[in-house]
C-alpha cells in the first residue's frame, strides 16, 4: 500500500495512513494450543515406547494442530494483507445534510463508512471510532462489528454534541480483528485525523442585543436603523424645499404634482468601526477547554462581532498571545464575519504550556494516548529501547532542573527503580515518535531524552495538538505564578497602536484581556497605547475575566477579615478574594485615569454593554454629521 498523507478535514473515505500489525494469541488460543501440545506429547511418548504402535493420540493431536495452524495462517493473511485495503471515511451531518463547520450548542451526526477493497475478506472486525475529547457520543454506538466482505461496506453512525466554541479533532478508527473461534487477536489504528471548527453560537447575536430591541438583525430593504437625515442612499422623507438644498435632491415628480419644490431627505449611514483585541495567552487558557477564561472572552467577542456585523458596522479582530498578534482589519462582509468566527474558534482551543511542567505526568498521559493512536510507531522492532540502558546509564542528578539535596544523594538509586526505568523507556519511544512527526533534526531524539525542559515543551505540544487534556503547575517552587505572561502587554500595545495608526474615524477598541495578575509598571506599554488612542478621540473598553468561583468584583467593599476559628480553606478563600478585588481596583484605577471603563467578562453582560457603547458612538457621529 502506498502512503497517503491525511487528507482535508472532510469525511471522504481514504486509505489508512498507517497500519500497525500486532497479532497475538488470546488466552483461549493459548489454552487450546497447550492442550493440543500435551496431547501430541502423550502420543509422542506412546509412539516412542512402541514404535510400531498405532497412536490415535498423535493423529488426533496432529489434526487439531493442523487446524490451529490453518486458522492462524488465514488470520495472518487477513491481518497483514486484507486490513491494508480497509478504509474508513467520516462524514458530519446535521438535519440538512453534510456539514464542514460545526456550531456550539448543537448536536451533529457522525456517519462512518468502512469499505474493504481488494479480494480478501475479514472474518470478524470490530471498528471503533475515537470520538473527539469532550464531544460525545450522546447517542448511537461508536463501534460496528461483523464480517466485512471484499468490496463490501459497513455504515454506522453516532451523534456528538458541541458544547463550546473551538474545534474538535477526530483521530481515526480503531480496528480489532479476530478469528471466529477467538484464538487470535489483532489490533490496529487507522489514523485519519480531521479537525472541525466549532463556531460560537449564532443565536446569541440576537438574544444579547439591547433589550429594547428596535431592529432586526439584518434590516430588510427600506427599514433603517438611524432615522436621521444624512448623506446615505436610502430615502428617509420628503419635505419642502429650503434655499440651499442641492438641486439633485429635488423630487421633480412630487414637486410637479404638488406644484411646489419638494426635497428628498436621505438616510444617514453611520457605520462604526470596532476592533476587538482578544488575549489568547497562556494566562487565559488555564482550565478545562470550553470553561476557561479564554472561552468567556471568545464568547463575548463572538457575540459582539456578530451583532455589530448585523448592524452593518465594521468589525476587526486581533488575537494576541505573548509572542504575536493575529490581526484582521475591520470589515463588514458576511465572509469577513465568518472568518472572524473561525479565528475565534481557533483561539478558543489553545492549551496552556509551560517549560516548568514536570515530565513524568505528561509522559504517562502522552504514552497512554500514543499506544492507542500511534501503535505502529511504538513497535519494539522499530522503536527499540535496551532494557539494560537505565541500569548502565540512568539520567544523572546534575541534569535535573531543580535538584534537591535528597535527589543529589539518592538519585543514583532512585533512577534505577522500576518506575523510573519504565519512564525512561517510554520517554525514548515518545521522543522518537515526536521527532518523526515533527520532522525534527537527527539529534533531537537524544536531546528530548536528556533535556527535561525541551521534553516537557514537546510533550505539551503533542498533547495539545491532539486535544488531550493535561495538568500544568501554576506556581514554581518559590510560589511565583507561572502564567502572568507580562509579555502579552507589549503585544497588545503594539496591536492597539497599529489599529490606531490605521483608524479612520472615532472607533471603538475593546480589549478583552486578563490583566489582573500584572503590576502597574508592567501595564505601562498598554497604558501608553491607550493614551494614544484616547488622544485620537477613539473609545476604549477593557473587559477582564474574573476568577471563577469568586463573587462579583466589588472594589468598594471593605476587606473582609476571617472570623475567629476560621478554617484554613476559608482564610485562603478570603485572601484570594481580597487579592482579586485589590487587583481589580488597581486595573480600574490605571485605566480609569484614561477614561477607559473596565468590565468583567464573567459577570453582568459585557457584550450588551459593548453594543450599547457602539450605539452611543453612532449617535454621536450621526449628530455630528447631521
Amino acid at each position: 500500500m502506498r502512503y497517503r498523507r491525511p487528507g482535508p478535514p472532510q469525511g471522504v473515505p481514504g486509505r489508512a495512513a498507517v497500519v500497525y500489525h500486532h497479532s497475538m494469541l488470546t488466552t483461549r488460543g493459548w489454552w487450546f494450543l497447550l492442550l493440543v501440545l500435551t496431547l501430541l506429547a502423550v502420543g509422542g511418548i506412546i509412539a516412542l515406547r512402541t514404535p510400531s504402535a498405532h497412536s490415535i493420540h498423535l493423529l488426533l493431536g496432529l489434526s487439531l494442530l493442523l487446524w490451529f495452524l490453518w486458522e492462524w495462517a488465514a488470520f495472518v493473511v487477513q491481518a497483514r494483507l486484507a486490513v491494508r485495503s480497509l478504509a474508513v471515511g467520516r462524514e458530519l451531518r446535521d438535519e440538512r445534510g453534510p456539514v464542514g463547520t460545526l456550531w456550539a450548542g448543537r448536536t451533529f451526526t457522525v456517519r462512518l463508512r468502512a469499505r474493504l477493497d481488494g479480494h480478501l475478506p475479514l472474518a470478524h472486525a470490530l471498528l471503533t471510532d475515537r470520538p473527539p475529547a469532550g464531544a460525545g457520543p450522546v447517542e448511537g454506538q461508536l463501534h460496528d462489528h461483523g464480517p466485512l466482505a471484499a468490496g463490501g461496506e459497513n455504515v454506522w453512525e453516532y451523534q456528538v454534541h458541541c458544547d463550546a466554541p473551538g474545534s474538535i479533532r477526530f483521530e481515526g478508527t480503531r480496528v480489532q480483528l479476530a478469528d471466529p473461534q477467538g484464538f487470535f487477536y489483532f489490533a490496529t489504528f487507522l489514523r485519519r485525523p480531521a479537525v472541525y471548527a466549532v463556531l460560537p453560537k449564532l443565536v446569541d447575536a440576537e438574544a444579547r442585543q439591547r433589550t429594547t430591541k428596535r431592529f432586526n438583525l439584518l434590516p430588510p430593504p427600506g427599514i433603517h436603523r438611524l432615522r436621521r437625515p444624512g448623506s446615505g442612499s436610502e430615502l428617509l422623507d420628503l419635505r419642502d424645499y429650503r434655499p440651499g438644498d442641492p438641486p439633485k435632491r429635488i423630487a421633480w415628480k412630487v414637486s410637479a404634482r404638488r406644484d411646489k419644490l419638494i426635497t428628498r431627505e436621505l438616510e444617514s449611514e453611520v457605520p462604526i468601526r470596532c476592533t476587538l483585541f482578544v488575549d489568547a495567552s497562556d494566562a487565559v487558557r488555564l482550565g478545562p477547554p470550553g470553561r476557561n477564561a479564554l472561552a468567556g472572552l471568545v464568547g463575548v467577542a463572538a457575540t459582539v462581532a456578530q451583532a455589530a456585523a448585523g448592524n452593518r458596522d465594521l468589525v476587526g479582530l486581533a488575537v494576541c498571545d505573548e509572542h504575536a498578534a493575529d490581526y484582521a482589519a475591520p470589515a463588514r462582509s458576511p465572509a469577513h464575519t465568518t472568518d472572524l468566527l473561525h479565528r475565534l474558534a481557533r483561539a478558543a482551543n489553545l492549551a496552556p504550556a509551560t517549560e516548568a511542567a514536570e515530565v513524568p505526568p505528561l509522559l504517562e498521559r502522552a504514552y497512554a494516548f500514543a499506544t492507542e493512536v500511534y501503535p505502529d510507531l511504538l513497535r519494539p522492532e522499530l522503536n527499540t529501547f535496551p532494557f539494560w540502558l537505565p541500569w548502565i546509564s540512568p539520567p544523572p542528578a546534575w541534569t535535573l532542573r531543580r535538584p534537591r539535596w535528597r535527589s543529589r544523594l539518592l538519585h543514583r538509586f532512585w533512577a534505577r527503580l522500576p518506575r523510573q526505568r519504565r519512564h525512561y523507556g517510554w520517554r525514548k519511544r515518545l521522543a522518537a515518535l515526536i521527532a518523526v512527526r515533527e520532522r525534527l533534526p537527527a539529534g533531537a531524539l537524544a536531546q528530548l531524552l536528556e533535556d527535561d525542559s525541551a521534553c516537557a515543551r514537546r510533550l505539551q505540544q503533542f498533547l495539545a495538538e491532539h486535544q488531550v487534556p493535561y495538568e500544568v503547575p501554576l506556581y514554581d517552587r518559590r510560589g511565583r505564578y507561572l502564567f502572568a505572561r507580562p509579555a502579552k502587554v507589549e503585544v497588545l500595545a503594539k496591536a492597539l497602536l497599529r489599529s490606531v495608526g490605521r483608524g479612520h474615524d472615532n472607533e471603538l477598541y475593546v480589549l478583552l484581556a486578563d490583566l489582573l495578575e500584572l503590576e502597574e509598571d508592567q501595564l505601562a506599554p498598554l497604558l501608553r497605547a491607550v493614551r494614544v488612542a484616547r488622544s485620537r478621540h477613539h473609545q476604549v473598553l477593557l473587559v477582564c475575566p474574573w476568577p471563577a468561583g469568586l463573587p462579583e468584583p466589588d472594589p468598594d467593599a471593605p476587606p473582609e477579615l476571617p472570623r475567629a476559628g476560621a478554617s484554613a480553606e476559608e482564610i485562603v478563600r478570603l485572601a484570594e478574594r481580597a487579592r482579586a478585588n485589590r487587583a481589580w481596583r488597581a486595573v480600574r484605577r490605571s485605566f480609569g485615569r484614561l477614561g477607559v471603563p473596565v468590565l468583567s467578562a464573567t459577570t453582568g453582560d459585557p457584550a450588551r454593554l459593548i453594543l450599547l457603547r457602539l450605539e452611543q458612538l453612532r449617535a454621536v457621529q450621526g449628530a455630528s454629521r447631521g
Binding site: Y3, V18, T26, W31, F32, L35, L39, V42, A47, R49, T50, P51, A53, H54, I56, H57, L59, L60, L62, S63, L64, L65, L66, W67, A73, R80, R84, H124, L126, H143, H145, G146, P147, A149, W156, Q176, A178, P180, Q181, G182, F183, Y185, L377, L382, T384, L389, P396, T399, R401, A432, A435, V436, R437, A442, L445, A446, Q447, L449, E450, D451
Partner: protein, 246 residues
Amino acid sequence: MSTAPTTPDADPGTAPAVSSYQVMGLAAVVVMGVALLQYGAGRWAVIPTLVGAAGLAFRWRSAPLVMLIALTFTLLVPLWIGGLVMFRRPASPVGDLVLCGAVLAYYVAQYRLFGMTVGVFPPRPRRLEQPPPRDPERVPGHELPAALVTVAAVTVAASFLWTLTGDVLPPWGIPPGPWRLGLLAWGLVGALVLVRGVTGHLGWRRLTPDEAALFVRDVLWQETRGEQRRINRWRTWGRQRRQRRE
C-alpha cells in the same frame, strides 16, 4: 452494505447460525461416541460424549478443555486394560479418520458458538465497555459449509502427513519412532519459520515513510547513543547553569 443497528437484547440462541453450529456439534459428539465405542473404549466413551453435549447445550466455557482431557483419558483406557498390546492392533484408517474428524468438528462448533455468545476478543484490561460477541445474524451463510470442508481436509491432511513420515526410511541407524516424530516436528517447525519469515519480510517491505524514518532514526540513535547522551547531558547542564545565573 451494513445491516441495521444490532439488537443486543435479542437472544443469540435463536439465530440460525447458532442452531446450525449446535446441530453440527451434537452430531459430531454422537459420531465421536460411536467411534470411541468402535475403538474399544467401552463404557468410558460416555464421558467425553456427555462433556461435549453439555458444553454445547449449556455453553460451558471449560468444556473444550475438559473434553480433551476426558478424550485423552478415554483413549488411554485400553492401555490400562490391555497394556501395550492394545496399541499394537492393526490400525483402522477409516475409524481413525472418523474419530479425528468428529473431534475436530466438535471443536469448530464449540468455539464458534463461544464466539457468538461469549465473544471473540480478549476482555479489556480496564473496567470499561467490553467488546461485543459476534452477531449471529451477520454470520455469512457459507461459513458452516466452509468449516465442514476445512474439517475434512485437515483430517485427511493430518492422516496423510503421518503416513508420509512413516514412508521415509530413517538414515544412520536412527530408530524409526524417534525419526518419525523428529521428522514431523522439524517439518512443522520449518513450515512455521517459513511462514513467519515470509510475512515478516513482507512487513519490512511495506513500511510506511514514517515507520521507515523512525527505523533510520532509531538506528542512528543506537549507533551514537553514548556520544549523543554525553553531549546532551552537558548541554542541559550548561543551559540550566546559565538560567540559574540569570
